[in-house]
């Protein structure tokens, strides 16, 4: 009963100083908002990345020449040959070069600069993609530089919203291609999406055709380069040894002396994951710091205002003691007040965070930022602890007041 009365007194005291109470709560509100956003975005990113790896197909190693590395040398099909040598790279199950480019595409009267991926027949296997209409191209078509194309769902929607796409002709950079198949939706969640754009918004063609018909690019030796080579290990245990074999083979192919650095990069899934984790950890650290600081500042604000309140209400405290309040009653009363303050501040923070999460999910559908109930429990606990921790000193001071001096206080 006394608790209810304490809450009532606290609310009416806070209500009597609306602006002051509100300003005091702002710190807690910001802190709580950032804690929720931080935790929820962290969780969303995590599931996003995990979903990406589940989609991409496992045990993948990617070799490429990073643009940011000054000495890097583009990979060529000859090198892909070498990497496909089962004696030199025994742990490789599949080896597939890929060459991506953006080209003007005209089809069915629609014009659009599209993303073209030049791949070989292993593409559906390595990247876990299904062909839901028509078929994928064959090795013969790859060897014969056939002008055939397989479309992602969004390309189908863009060019062939009213016609059956298979058998239609499209022009990529003026070159005529025949549509032979349609890919299933990737869902826009995969790692391919994350790394290289929307995996549903692509046109897949044989790499040989892409290199000869769509790209004039050549390296110094006159060979045609590829963007990267995707290599799948035989099992998850051999990913590391596969990466070593790839490095060894490429260094030999390129005659890199033992003193020199690699002029290419071998990336394993776990390495990518590590990098992502590092980024997430950094983000988390930064946001935690922000949240922590605003929570502490909010707490100090509460302490400050509670000290003012105790001073202002010295006579009230004296009177309460004169009518029989024990020190513990006074302590509890002011603790209730500081907790009410921090809980309301936290409550506002929760509603702001929920609104923000809703907005993020609405505008970035790929990132499903949902606030978990446990997160809300967590911040409620944090708010209460702040109320108790920073309210303890003022409340203790109030409870120890000498009743006479309190009653005399002007």
């Amino acid at each position: 009963m006394l608790i209810l009365e304490n809450i009532r007194v606290a609310l009416s005291a806070l209500n009597a100083n609306k602006l002051r109470s509100f300003l005091t709560m702002v710190g807690i509100t910001i802190g709580v908002t950032s804690v929720i956003i931080l935790v929820s975005i962290g969780q969303a990113l995590e599931s996003f990345v995990i979903a990406g790896f589940e989609n991409i197909g496992s045990n993948l190693v990617v070799v490429f020449a990073p643009l940011v590395q000054s000495n890097s040398k583009l990979l060529t099909l000859n090198e892909v040959e070498a990497l496909s040598d089962v004696f030199r790279v025994p742990d490789a199950l599949y080896v597939m070069p890929q060459d991506n480019m953006n080209r003007q595409v005209v089809a069915n009267g629609v014009e659009y600069v599209s993303r073209i991926e030049g791949v070989d027949v292993l593409y559906p296997t390595i990247f876990n993609r299904d062909v839901i209409g028509g078929r994928f191209f064959t090795q013969n078509e790859v060897d014969g530089l056939a002008r055939v194309a397989v479309l992602g769902q969004k390309m189908v929607d863009r060019f062939f919203s009213d016609t059956f796409p298979i058998g239609q002709t499209i022009r990529i950079s003026g070159v005529r291609f025949t549509v032979i198949g349609v890919l299933s939706t990737e869902g826009g969640e995969g790692l391919t999406t994350f790394l290289g754009g929307d995996a549903d918004d692509i046109i897949v063609v044989p790499i040989t055709t892409a290199q000869t018909r769509l790209s004039g690019e050549r390296v110094i030796t006159g060979e045609r380069p590829v963007d990267f080579v995707a290599i799948q290990a035989r099992s998850s245990d051999t990913v590391k040894s596969l990466a070593d074999q790839i490095r060894q083979t490429l260094r030999e192919e390129r005659n890199i002396s033992f003193r020199d650095e690699d002029n290419f990069q071998v990336v394993t899934q776990s390495a990518v994951l590590d990098t992502l984790n590092q980024i997430t950890a950094l983000l988390t650290l930064f946001l935690s710091l922000l949240a922590g600081i605003s929570l502490i500042v909010g707490g100090i604000g509460i302490m400050n205002i509670m000290l003012v309140t105790v001073t202002e209400r010295t006579r009230e405290i004296g009177l309460r003691k004169a009518t029989g309040a024990k020190n513990s009653d006074i302590l509890l009363q002011f603790l209730t007040e500081s907790m009410t303050l921090s809980l309301i501040g936290g409550g506002i923070g929760i509603s702001i965070a929920l609104t923000l999460a809703f907005l993020v999910t609405t505008f970035v559908p790929d990132l499903d930022v949902s606030v978990k109930f446990t997160t809300i429990l967590l911040v409620v606990a944090i708010s209460m602890s702040i109320g108790v921790f920073f309210g303890a000193y003022p409340a203790n001071r109030a409870s120890k007041l000498n009743p006479i001096e309190a009653l005399r206080y002007e």
Binding site: L319, G324, P403
Partner: protein, 280 residues
């Protein structure tokens, strides 16, 4: 004599010639305040017994120690020396919690400045002691107390919506709601005009007469003091006079006489006997 008390022997509860128990029994109480290097002796050895059902007024010039004495009687403060038995309980031996309980159950305090809580309705003000006492049926009891002081129609009024006299009556209702052994009032009419003062006096008299509540109050007003049964005069921290009032006035029945006549019957000589600066 002090030694005897320190041995922890509770003295027998004193009784007066009518057989009434002493609610208040203080022996050689002193109170010293330390103000920096200066020692202020507010009370210099006060002996006083007040019996149940008595209606006592304490008078004396400003600074004579009246409030100090009231705070000690109200268990809000501890004496520097001496013993205080309240209803037979040695108050000096009580800890903080027990003192709070004593204040809650045995004492009703009324202040000159009302000391009502802001933003709190009359009803809730009066419920306060019941709340701290963990009493059930609070609303009913608080209502009854407010009705007893004639504020049955003002239950939901805030202090800012009440006149001074009404506020003081709320404070009185708050003091009596727990049915304490005594009411202590420090200049309860000091902030009121004479009409409101008379109303408040009427309430005190009625409470005392009908419920037999022991009442001690401080006043500067000899006319008010003549409404009580016994007047105690304090000066410089000692009791200088303690007399029964032969025929106490009944509040509201007699017109206040001219100032010259006011002191009639209330030891004029003692009141005006002090040095001049005491009255400033």
């Amino acid at each position: 004599m002090l030694k005897l008390f320190k041995k922890g022997k509770e003295p027998e509860i004193l009784r007066d010639e009518l057989g009434r128990r002493a609610v208040i029994d203080i022996r050689q109480i002193t109170k010293m305040y330390q103000m920096g290097d200066v020692e202020v002796h507010a009370l210099r050895g006060v002996d006083l017994q007040i019996y149940e059902g008595e209606f006592v007024s304490i008078m004396g010039p400003s600074g004579s120690g009246k409030s100090t004495l009231m705070y000690i009687l109200g268990a809000l403060d501890q004496p520097t020396n001496g013993a205080y038995y309240l209803d037979g309980v040695d108050v000096s031996k009580l800890d903080e919690k027990q003192l709070a309980i004593i204040r809650n159950k045995k004492i009703g305090f009324v202040f000159q400045s009302f000391n009502l809580l802001k933003r709190t309705t009359a009803l809730r003000q009066v419920e306060l002691p019941l709340m701290y006492g963990g009493v059930s049926g609070r609303t009913k009891k608080a209502k009854a107390a407010l009705e007893a002081v004639g504020l049955g129609k003002r239950l939901d009024h805030l202090p800012s919506e009440l006149s001074g006299g009404q506020q003081q009556r709320v404070a009185i209702a708050r003091a009596i709601v727990n049915e304490p052994a005594m009411i202590l009032a420090d200049e309860p009419t000091g902030n009121l005009d004479s009409r409101s003062g008379t109303e408040v006096m009427q309430i005190f008299q009625t409470m005392n007469r009908e419920k037999g509540i022991t009442t001690v109050f401080v006043t500067h007003d000899p006319w008010i003091a003549r409404h009580t049964n016994r007047v105690i005069m304090l000066r410089d921290g000692v009791v200088v006079a303690d007399r029964k009032v032969a025929t106490p006035l009944v509040a509201g029945e007699t017109e206040r006489p001219s100032e010259a006549e006011e002191l009639e019957g209330v030891f004029q000589e003692v009141y005006y006997g002090g040095k001049e600066e005491e009255y400033n």
